[in-house]
Symmetry: C2
Subunit: 73 residues, 2 copies
């Protein structure tokens, strides 16, 4: 599914736990005409898409970890 072009909210339910090692990429979408909520969608290495709670501290930690890895490489 080409999520970016969907014109509605993508996340019906969110999970609050995820294994960092399973994440292939993480997409953060601010509210817009298509959806009034902030959405965080993780694409897993097995191809599955999982919605994360944008308010969960875990999400910030995952993003910080990814960006910090960029610095050290």
């Amino acid at each position: 599914a080409v999520v970016a072009t969907e014109l509605r909210c993508q996340c019906l339910k969110t999970v609050s736990r995820i294994d960092f090692q399973d994440i292939q990429s993480l997409k953060v979408t601010p509210p817009g005409p298509h959806c009034t909520k902030t959405e965080v969608i993780a694409t897993l290495k097995n191809g599955q898409e999982v919605c994360l709670d944008p308010e969960a501290p875990l999400v910030r930690r995952i993003i910080q970890k990814i960006l910090n890895n960029a610095k050290s490489s």
Copy 2:
């Protein structure tokens, strides 16, 4: 382009400036078999995709702003 399934690095060059208002979504990809670099790709409201420098403080600020908006809504 369905970027998630591409099996190579997506970002040949990165920009260091971007207008928050132009961003439709932001995708963060940690290094993996497809690419040894961390990549941050912004999809703009006009459909354009722009690569951002993952080490740029701007990227952290944009993500924090998006996540903070989630909290206040």
